[in-house]
Symmetry: none
Subunit: 297 residues, 2 copies
Amino acid sequence: MKESFGSPGGSLAAKVRTLAPSMTRSMQRVAEAVANDPAGCAALTVTGLAELTGTSEATVVRTARLLGYPGYRDLRLALAGLAAQQQSGRAPAITTDIAVDDPIADVVAKLAYEEQQTLADTAAGIDTVQLDAAVTALAAARRTDVYGIGASGLVAQDLTQKLLRIGLIAHAHSDPHLAVTNAVQLRPGDVAIAITHSGSTGDVIEPLRAAFEHGATTVAITGRPDSPVTQYADLVLTTSTSRETELRPAAMSSRTSQLLVVDCLFVGVAQRTYETAAPALAASYEALAHRHRSGSR
Amino acid sequence: MKESFGSPGGSLAAKVRTLAPSMTRSMQRVAEAVANDPAGCAALTVTGLAELTGTSEATVVRTARLLGYPGYRDLRLALAGLAAQQQSGRAPAITTDIAVDDPIADVVAKLAYEEQQTLADTAAGIDTVQLDAAVTALAAARRTDVYGIGASGLVAQDLTQKLLRIGLIAHAHSDPHLAVTNAVQLRPGDVAIAITHSGSTGDVIEPLRAAFEHGATTVAITGRPDSPVTQYADLVLTTSTSRETELRPAAMSSRTSQLLVVDCLFVGVAQRTYETAAPALAASYEALAHRHRSGSR
DNA sequence: CACCGAACCGAAAATATCTTTCATCCGTGA
DNA sequence: TCACGGATGAAAGATATTTTCGGTTCGGTG
């Protein structure tokens, strides 16, 4: 709503005020309407605006000319621009938590905003040295086990799916017993990754511990860098922790954060193993093609 | 971020990407021109834009329609608005694709940025009316089945986990046969949700179809609103489509987008069923507490 | 008070722009 | 190769904008 200086378009209201004295009565009515409700007027045709102001098309066009536009068409475009700017000006107001009676549109906006925030926090907080070390370990690993339970289990599977796609050997475990059983098979050069937001999930810590004790390179992806899980982790990747609210459980933001970390790991590994990763990715894409119907076009 | 008129607003570029696959060659040329230079195109008449893109007026109008506007006139208005916003909003900082030799810190930054972008696009492109209807259906459903394969399967599980947490009956299926077997058990009042980025995954379409034919309320979460899956969907929730690069497969951004939609569904349902959802959430939290060791440190 | 002229104004014609229709063209699959 | 269906653009048709032009009002003047 601020007026810009030399910038074209500038404030229409100001221009209207300046030029008002040199306008005839009907033209003033038009100018006023335009200044008061740019958005509304932008939606109108010459005829519409003429009727609204109780004048004629000719007068509207004359007014547009006076305001410095070649014709009404261009005034209208400028109006649309102005409206859009005003619209975006009164932006955020997303500061509050999601309330029980928020309309669904607000829910969408707030969730998107919060997840964006989570991503930014995570990216800012990540330790690239540890990340790089984890990537190096993964790229060279004979096999990789990933542990995760509940929501984190899905992240574990996501990572596994990706690694498999580029030809690495990876397994996700959400059954603690099987996880431990498998963990003891690991040996130096292998990698074990535990994903847990709280860092205190025993079912995930135990297999990591087993892997750790058998000499595998262990990685913890957690929101609590001082939690028990880090005891057995050679490398710790910290995810961001945002306050959780009644309607937005922690699982939601921790998942977003964990997924970003996982994506970074994946892309990092794909870079390191580009020679084999690129063809593998292409191949998996090919293989899937026939599972899709002919497509929409 | 809705715009003044009925027309869906948000990022035009995102919409172009989403709809591009369903466009013909000439229309793609027009769409591309519009997406690349909104300001320039806003200054052109139909004829002008037709000449610029080497097509005809008819094609330009057709493209405008496909993008959701009643005609070229309105597209032009929207373009003017967009141009104004870009002008004031300054440059969106163009990031290049992730390169094979990018240092890990750049990878983190680029991935975070792209996922944020995906979230914004998704939020802008989502149809809140459909979303609201889906929420209503879910909140009232006797049971809910969710179909998803591969990466989308994880999203399906995520949704299921969340719904279960607030006391709803939900199942995720990734086995196509079992999915169909279960789908035929559905009846009016039940809800079936298919999650597929391409919208052409036969293994996911079949169960949805079965559910559809048995009278369940069917929902499709897809990046292609014109794809086969929507044939059997009462409600369609569109996820955003970002260009995929060699090191960043489509699965990555579609997952981010799908998860946002799923989160919106969940929060929406939690709002509707607040009386039962809040205690249920609290209870599940309690139940998990004992799985965690005494705490940090 | 009647008259005059100038500016104002809007109806309608003229023009530009947008939309629709329809015949043609091109690619595709049998 | 042929037939088909969708994509495409030329041109007709519909709207919107601009221009023209004559009527009207208002202030000044004899």
